[in-house]
Structure formats: C-alpha cells, structure tokens
C-alpha cells in the first residue's frame, strides 16, 4: 500500500515533468498528428487508408518517445546526480 502510493506519485510527477519539457512534448505529440493529417487526410486516395493511418500513427506516437526519449532521460538524470540522490533515499528499489 505504501509502495503503491509512491509509484503513483513518482509516475504522476514524471509525466508532469515531461509535459513541461517542450523538447520532449512537442515532437512526441506533434509529429504523429502532423504525419496523420498529411498522409491520412490530405493525401487520402483510397477508402480505409485514413483508419489505417490513424492506427499506424497512434502506434508511432506511443513507441517513438519510449524508443528515443527514455534512455536520454535516464542518462540525463544520472549525469545530474538525480538518480544518485534517489538511490540513497528510501525510494523502493523497484522504481
């Protein structure tokens, strides 16, 4: 129970931190939307292409940040000592 409260708080603050980082937020949100508008709506030449593109770019939007931003964020936290401070705190090791 105690740990689950920490998990929720940690996750919500992590998301809040990302939301406040334009370098992360804009590419992660704008790219899939712009690609979908461009290829799924403007250049929509066949029936069903729009639906197909919607699913494709939704996946792209979810996978993109996890592939390209996760490691950078961890490396940055580590370089700045943020992770070191967490390691010596009683934060659950599973986080």
């Amino acid at each position: 129970m105690f740990n689950s409260a920490i998990y929720i708080k940690e996750s919500s603050y992590d998301l809040l931190s990302l939301w406040r980082t334009p370098a992360f937020f804009l590419p992660a949100m704008l790219f899939p939307i712009v690609f979908y508008v461009f290829f799924g709506i403007v250049f929509n030449f066949s029936a069903g292409q729009s639906d197909y593109m919607l699913v494709s770019y939704a996946c792209f939007g979810m996978i993109g940040p996890s592939l390209f931003n996760y490691a950078t964020a961890v490396a940055s936290d580590r370089a700045h000592g943020w992770l070191t401070l967490k390691r010596v705190s009683p934060m659950p090791l599973t986080l």
Partner: protein
Amino acid sequence: MNANKNEVRLHIQSLSKCYGTKYALNNVSLRANAGEVIAVLGKNGAGKTSLINSILGMHNYQAESVEILGTTFHDRHRPTSIRQRIGVMMQLGTLNANLTVAEQLDLFCSYYQNGATAAELINEFELSPIANQRFGKLSGGQRQQVLFAISVAGNPSLLFLDEPTVGMDVEARHILWQQIQQRRAQGCAILLTTHYIEEAQRLADRVAILRAGQIIAEGTVSEIIADHESLEAAYLHLIQEPAHV
C-alpha cells in the same frame, strides 16, 4: 528526537577504497555519536566524498567493520529500513529541473514512513517564496536550501552533508548553520565535509583531517589547534607534513 549522547550512530573501522591501483581511502576509521557533528576536512581529491559514498554503499569497499545505526554491514547493500533513518545532501546535488520546490518535497517526503510533510518542510525552512518555482530556475544558494530540506525530510538519525554551503551567500550560510545546529540539538549525528574552516570550527564537535585517503589527525577543535594560532593554521600545517597516521 530524544537521543543518548553516547549512542553510537556511525562506527567504521579500517575502511579502504581503491579506484584501480589508487587508494582513495586507506584504513579510515571514524565514529559519530548521537548529537555530534564530525567535520571531515581535506583538499580536493583527499577522499571526502568517497568516504561518504562508501558508508552509503554507493560503491564497493573493503572494511574491517561498518556499523550504521546499530547494524553492522558486511557488504554495500543498505536496506530500506536503514535508508529511512539516514539523510543525505550530496555534493553539488540536483533535482528534476522541471518540478517545483513543493512538488520535489512532496515526492521525497512520500518515501519516508515517519517523515515530515512537504508543508512542514516549506514552513520550517521558509521556502514559501520559492515553493512554486521550478528547481531549474533557482539560484545556487536556494537549491542548496531545498536539498538540505530534502536531506532532513525523514527526520534522520544520521545525516551526511557533503559540502552543503558551496555557492551560498553569507546570510544563507548562517541560516543553514543554525539549521544544522538545531538538528544536532535534536540528537542527530552529522558527518559534514567542507572546505570552509570557519564552518568546521563553528559547527564541529570533532574534526578529522583527510590527506590522500588517510586520516592524519582527529580530535576536538581545540585538540587539532593545539599549539597553532587557529584551526586554519593547524590544518595548513598538518596537510603539508610528511605522511603519518
């Protein structure tokens, strides 16, 4: 926090740490009782931060014995129950730049089962003017204040302060000194590393001087000063002497 002044909070014997072939720490022994401030002085690279990192189990080390808060450790693993009772302020530490001070405190306070709340810390350390500012926008001194508040979030029995007043102005430094003295009065054992002799003289019950990974002198401020004019003169003399333990 009621504490017996003779209660041993930290006791390390013959602790050594090697980086490759270089000894960062060589047979260091140290003891800190409840309500006592131990200041560790030494040049850059003398081993002050390595000493704290070794005690915290941040890296492997060799030691005859490492006893923290009554528990003896034979490896670098420090269980959560011990980390709940330890506070740490890292040298030039930092936090998530995009979260506000209040959010950072709220997050760290949630790690401690019997700690203070974010509101209590904001009130105690008079952080309300900067509580809604993002950590990345704070000045160096303000950051140090927040990091100190976080280090005491769990009402620690043992506190490690690694150069806590670096980058602080005179006023902020005096406020932090008062807060350290307040923690000591409550029975917290404090291991403080610093380059400021005045800070050590003002705060420390005992001083240990590290040179090239070895403690070359240890005692009360008056014992270290001995025949010298001041602690600074004694320190400068001791770190220039040929090696002896």
